[in-house]
């Protein structure tokens, strides 16, 4: 069995519409080793969320999507799996955390009911009482000190930070080997975001879960990820370990992104271009250079 949890090779995606075909991904390759936290960072429209949805097998359900390339999850070729087999992976071997925790929880069911649903994905015969016990323990793991109150609540009765913890607990409940986090905590206050990210970081390290971390926020990526891929208009423009990439960003696009982030040490608003020819330069690969 390969060491890699996820291996994406030369992934292309286009959408066919009434007005023609829109190319979204132009052959991106990325991999995640077991237990590794990998970030995919880019601006809106760069193709980061569609990549996550392809890994989950959600875009494959869409008739207008044209996908090609090799996708391997724990050594299995995802493109050969049937829709049913891919469905079985979701919520068990792969799980996902979305940007806004409050809107990704169902407002008409209590947290305990939703937790039961999640646990049934892996163990269909689990009873409500058993599920409640497992859920309570999972909530304790995300530092929720009164799990019973939370389990009997609806999502709208809890704060955003609390809901985010619930989401993290649910996503890890079935011990997935891959967790996809799409802009987690972007909708939360910075202090709450910092707390939940630290919590998620510790938990995935403890469980040995691999993470595909999708974000537009370089600061958050720097704190969370082991390795980083920078994506621009459907192409990976720079990749490397977090340390190497932040110490020495070399692609013009990565440099512009870093310069554009306002600094808490001051220095004024950066003078950067929104778009430039140079952003389309070939990829900078820190790993290959380190190996050479």
């Amino acid at each position: 069995m390969s060491m890699r949890t996820l291996d994406i090779c030369d992934l292309y995606l286009s959408f066919k519409g009434y007005t023609g075909t829109v190319e979204v991904l132009h052959g991106i390759s990325l991999h995640i080793d077991r237990g590794e936290r990998v970030a995919l960072v880019g601006e809106s429209g760069s193709g980061k969320s569609v990549t996550a949805r392809i890994v989950l097998g959600l875009l494959q359900e869409l008739r207008s999507a044209r996908i090609s390339g090799r996708l391997e999850f724990e050594g299995n070729d995802l493109s050969r799996l049937s829709a049913g087999a891919r469905h079985d992976l979701r919520g068990t071997k792969m799980s996902m955390i979305f940007q806004d925790p409050t809107s990704s929880l169902n407002p008409v069911y209590t947290i305990s009911t939703q937790f039961h649903e999640v646990l049934k994905r892996a163990l269909p015969s689990i009873s409500a009482d058993e599920a409640r016990a497992v859920a309570a323990k999972a909530l304790l793991d995300v530092s929720i000190t009164e799990p019973d109150r939370v389990l009997d609540s609806y999502a709208f009765q809890l704060s955003g930070g609390m809901n985010q913890r619930v989401m993290i607990a649910m996503a890890l409940a079935n011990e997935p080997s891959l967790l996809i986090a799409d802009e987690p905590g972007t909708a939360l206050d910075v202090t709450v975001q910092a707390q939940t990210l630290a919590l998620m970081h510790d938990l995935v390290a403890e469980h040995g879960t691999s993470v595909l971390f999708i974000s537009h926020n370089l600061g958050v990526v720097r704190e969370f990820a082991d390795r980083v891929y920078v994506i621009y208009k459907g192409r990976i423009v720079e990749k490397g370990s977090t340390g190497a990439l932040f110490a020495d960003p070399r692609h013009p696009y990565t440099r512009a992104l870093m310069a554009a982030v306002p600094k808490i040490t001051g220095g004024g608003v950066a003078d950067v271009e929104e778009a430039s020819e140079a952003f389309s330069e070939p990829m900078v690969d820190h790993d290959a250079e380190a190996a050479a």
Binding site: S44, G219, A260, P262, T265, G266, E274
Partner: protein, 268 residues
């Protein structure tokens, strides 16, 4: 610098049945003409409530707001509405999708009776150019613009009636960083060229550090700290402020150092 806006012992209480929410409690501060004052705090700290009272969307429960030394009435006169303008976070929902960009700008001119019929078209073109958009954009609908372009239109609309105080409520929070940097630059240029005064409401302390002259920190409806930007970041007096600053995700090594220093102090 003279005082443009003065907020004195202002409180706002919302009533929901027999439940009271004290959104803003006994807040006083001044805004000097030509300055950029940032209002920061977590969600629920009362920063938008303050903005809404300044704009006259609802009156304070207690206290007074004075503009150019005259108290602002609960029902605003046209001249007040003209002088104090708003730019919101999401330009997609603040611009009417059924009006062209030009029609949105023209409405501001019509309401305040600025220019004559023929002059207005030229004025709209000039406004768009001032915010870095081609004059032809007047014909477009907001849906045909990118997020950054829409925010530029929202800024142009706030400037259309020659306002002097602009309340910016999270103006760049919905934008990508590269676009954010351009829009912040534009806001700085406009402030210098037109001598505008800004009240900049945001949760993003890194943006505040680079654009504001002074910062007011709100916690649970109270003003807990108000200081010059550089001083506040170098020596925040309140633990709440230190926590806010040290939670900002950063990219540079010197920023990491500053954060570490502050969080050590916050925990000490």
């Amino acid at each position: 610098m003279s005082t443009l806006l003065s907020i004195r012992e202002v409180s706002k209480t919302f009533r929901l049945g027999d439940h009271e929410i004290k959104a803003v409690q006994d807040v006083s501060f001044d805004v000097a003409e030509g300055e950029c004052l940032a209002i920061v705090g977590e969600s629920g700290s009362g920063k938008s409530t303050i903005a809404n009272m300044i704009l006259g969307i609802y009156p304070p429960t207690e206290g007074t707001i004075t503009y150019r030394e005259a108290p602002l009435p609960a029902r605003r006169e046209l001249i007040h509405r003209r002088a104090i303008q708003l730019v919101q976070q999401n330009p997609l929902s603040s611009l009417n999708p059924k009006r062209s960009v030009g029609a949105s700008l023209r409405l501001a001119l019509d309401v305040h009776g600025i220019g004559d019929r023929h002059g207005r078209a030229a004025r709209i073109g000039k406004l768009l150019e001032e915010v870095g958009l081609p004059a032809e954009f007047a014909k477009r609908s907001p849906a045909a613009l990118s997020g950054g372009q829409r925010q530029r239109v929202a800024i142009a609309r706030a400037l259309a009636c020659e306002s002097d105080l602009v309340v910016l409520d999270e103006p760049t929070s919905a934008l990508d960083v590269l676009v954010q940097a351009r829009v912040l630059k534009l806001l700085q240029e406009l402030r210098t060229n037109r001598g505008l005064t800004y009240i900049f409401i945001t949760h993003d302390l890194a943006v505040v550090r680079n654009i504001a002259d002074r910062v007011a920190v709100f916690e649970k409806g109270r003003l807990v700290e108000l200081n010059d930007t550089a001083k506040l970041f170098a020596k925040p007096a309140e633990p709440y402020t230190r926590n806010l600053i040290s939670a900002v995700p950063v990219v540079g090594d010197d920023e990491v150092k500053l954060r570490k220093k502050l969080s050590r102090k916050a925990n000490a």
